[in-house]
């Protein structure tokens, strides 16, 4: 079993490992924030601070043979599914150690062994692709499922509508997860969408739907499990709306000054890290000391990851010309 598959297995089996992965994501994103602010990485980036419970909760329920399509805001999901921090950070830095060898970048993470399709930088781009993966499962009669994760803003793009309708009429084993973090770029969702509970849109397709508390990993696991079970057993698609909040700005440059006063603070009270800590302390699985140790170990780990990625070679010029077409073959 590959190291990354082992990482995946860990979050599937153990609540403390899930918590650790959430801490990893948090630490990772904060490192990236610093690196970008310092100007030591170019391009752009989209952090998922505050959305760790959704990523890890999802990864803990799915099998590695299930398929996930996600977006440019994909670091957390990639790490949760098992990609190594080196594979993710390396890609963001454009180094050969990155999961795409440095030619893809921050918005395009993938690892098929773990079921992660290349994340798409086009709003709605990954949704029909996930439905297509589900179509292949249906035709081959496996019981794998496909999951499309997308933002609240993405519920206004045509591909959302077309994909949900297609998935419903074909009864595909696909789960649509709307990560409603309240903002699409700099616009609060209510400015672009005349509806608060986005999952209600599934009624247009007679598709089962519900919302869940995306700040609570337990709620995520429960909801996703319900939808996954339905899909695996031939019951078709589900639209889930996870209510989360984007703790950071939209992308590197954004300081999110457009937020109403007090909104961030209100949501931070339900910081998914805190929520998980409380539950694990209550169950006796963790205590303050263990928590402090996990956090400081993770800091060290991620600092090492940064160093490793900085030391990783730049891609060769030749790599620009590779992987465009499949090397030719003749006949079947």
């Amino acid at each position: 079993m590959s190291a990354e598959l082992k990482r995946r297995k860990a979050v599937q089996e153990d609540a403390v490992a899930q918590y650790e992965r959430m801490i990893e994501i948090r630490e990772f994103e904060e490192q990236i924030n610093g690196l970008f602010a310092a100007g030591s990485i170019r391009g752009t980036t989209h952090l998922c601070l505050g959305q760790e419970a959704l990523a890890v909760g999802l990864a803990s329920v799915l099998r590695p043979t299930d398929i996930v399509s996600a977006t440019y805001r994909g670091h957390g999901i990639a790490l949760a599914l098992g990609l190594s921090p080196e594979a993710v950070l390396g890609e963001i830095m454009g180094k050969t150690i990155g999961c795409c060898g440095g030619v893809g970048g921050s918005m395009h993470l993938s690892n098929m062994e773990l079921g992660l399709l290349p994340t798409s930088a086009i709003i709605g781009g990954g949704m029909p692709v996930a439905a297509g993966a589900a179509l292949s499962f249906q035709v081959r009669k496996t019981d794998d499922v496909a999951v499309a994760v997308f933002g609240d803003g993405a519920t206004n793009i045509g591909a959302f509508h077309e994909t949900l309708n297609l998935a419903a009429i074909w009864n595909l084993p696909v789960i649509f997860i709307c990560d409603n973090n309240v903002y699409g770029e700099y616009s609060r969702i209510n400015l672009t969408t005349p509806l608060e509970d986005l999952h209600m849109r599934a009624d247009s397709y007679k598709m089962p739907h519900f919302s869940l508390d995306g700040m609570d990993i337990g709620a995520v696991q429960k909801g996703v499990t319900e939808a996954v079970n339905r899909a695996r057993s031939g019951g078709g698609p589900t639209l889930i709306e996870a209510k989360t909040y984007r703790f950071a700005g939209h992308s590197r440059a954004d300081q999110a000054l457009y937020r109403p006063e007090g909104e961030l603070e209100k949501w931070q009270k339900r910081d998914p890290i805190k929520v998980t800590e409380e539950s694990l302390v209550a169950s006796g699985a963790l205590n303050a000391d263990k928590i402090a140790k996990i956090k400081s170990d993770m800091k060290t780990t991620i600092e090492k990851v940064v160093a490793t990625c900085q030391a990783s070679p730049e891609p060769s010029l030749a790599s620009m010309f590779q992987n465009i077409f499949t090397p030719a073959k003749v006949g079947r």
Binding site: S110, P118, P128, V139, E162, N323, V330
Partner: protein
């Protein structure tokens, strides 16, 4: 082996689809009205009956949705063939083909292939008006990661369809709608690889490169002209067969491209530009394009018949250019229309 069967162009498509589906259980077909109704142009006749509703599917009117579904299915190991009824409809779905499918291999560091085929009917001549009659190669032509082919007869329709389905990368097939009813002889064992042009007629005076319905027009034009022309059916627009075309131009020293796209910005400019850049000193006369004018496709039958290059007009331009070595005027320049 080597025996041919007469069939219509659209039947050649059906046969190729059926033969591929028999040979490979991962091949499937979907699009609007391709299953129950057997295709708006009857290019899927009998397929639902033979292969069943799991593999042959009607879709809602959702080109972005089902083209994207083909991308996902292809990544997971299926070989989906998607029908876009008229090429213009790709205007609501281009993202999935060009920005997703064509980049998946690159964006997965070579881990993924996307063996999907998108078929679309293209072209003018049937009175469908300006939103249903274009060829629009330009929408897909400059896309590293995407292959684009265009058959000009039943044999090519059959062989290129099979090659496209077998190809591990996304392939777009432009099917000249006006040819669906045309008859031809098909040798089902004949392989036409993607990326290989077809030299349909050997000649030494001029090299003519044509595509789709312009191949027939060019053939008639050559007969009318009585010139010794080498006729090349480009067959694959991307990646086009530089070797065959350039070898021919080296020999003849003259290049004329006959295309259905509008004068400005069509695929033919690539051929003319590349040949000129590479073979400049070997050219005996100005290479040029014979195209449609820079106008929307007109509806009126009278106008539409003049819109596309005619055999007479192509013959005239070939003859004139051979005499003068310069680029002849288009018919609309001659008539003072633009």
């Amino acid at each position: 082996m080597g025996t041919t069967t007469p069939m219509r162009f659209r039947q050649a498509i059906v046969s190729a689809l059926a033969d591929e589906m028999r040979a490979d259980s991962t091949v499937m077909l979907f699009g609007e009205d391709v299953a129950e109704a057997e295709g708006p142009f009857k290019t899927s006749e009998g397929l639902l009956t033979e292969f069943g509703p799991l593999r042959i599917r009607d879709t809602p009117i959702s080109e972005m949705g089902f083209t994207g579904a083909a991308v996902g299915a292809a990544i997971m190991g299926m070989k989906p063939v998607v029908e876009i009824m008229f090429m213009e409809f790709l205007g609501v779905a281009l993202d999935q083909l060009v920005t997703e499918a064509a980049k998946m291999r690159y964006l997965s560091n070579g881990k993924l292939s996307v063996p999907m085929v998108v078929r679309a009917s293209v072209g003018s001549g049937l009175g469908f008006g300006c939103q249903h009659s274009q060829t629009l190669e330009n929408w897909v032509a400059a896309t590293p990661g995407l292959k684009v082919v265009c058959p000009s007869d039943a044999q090519a329709a059959y062989s290129l369809m099979r090659a496209s389905i077998q190809d591990p990368d996304p392939v777009m097939i432009l099917e000249p709608r006006i040819l669906y009813a045309e008859r031809g002889d098909v040798d089902t064992s004949l392989v036409l690889p993607i990326g290989k042009a077809r030299v349909l007629r050997k000649g030494s005076d001029i090299t003519v490169v044509a595509l789709g319905q312009m191949v027939n027009v060019s053939r008639s034009a050559i007969e009318k002209s009585g010139l010794d022309v080498e006729l090349i059916d480009l067959a694959t627009v991307v990646p086009w067969d530089r070797e065959t075309v350039l070898t021919s131009v080296k020999k003849t020293g003259r290049l004329v491209v006959v295309e259905e796209a509008p004068k400005s910005g069509g695929w033919g400019s690539e051929i003319v530009a590349a040949a000129t850049s590479e073979l400049f000193s070997q050219l005996k006369g100005a290479p040029f394009r014979i195209t449609t004018p820079d106008v929307p496709v007109p509806y009126s039958g009278v106008l539409e018949a003049r819109f596309v290059p005619t055999a007479d007009d192509v013959a005239r331009q070939l003859t004139e250019s051979l005499k003068s070595g310069t680029t002849p005027k288009s018919w609309w320049e001659l008539e003072g229309l633009k």
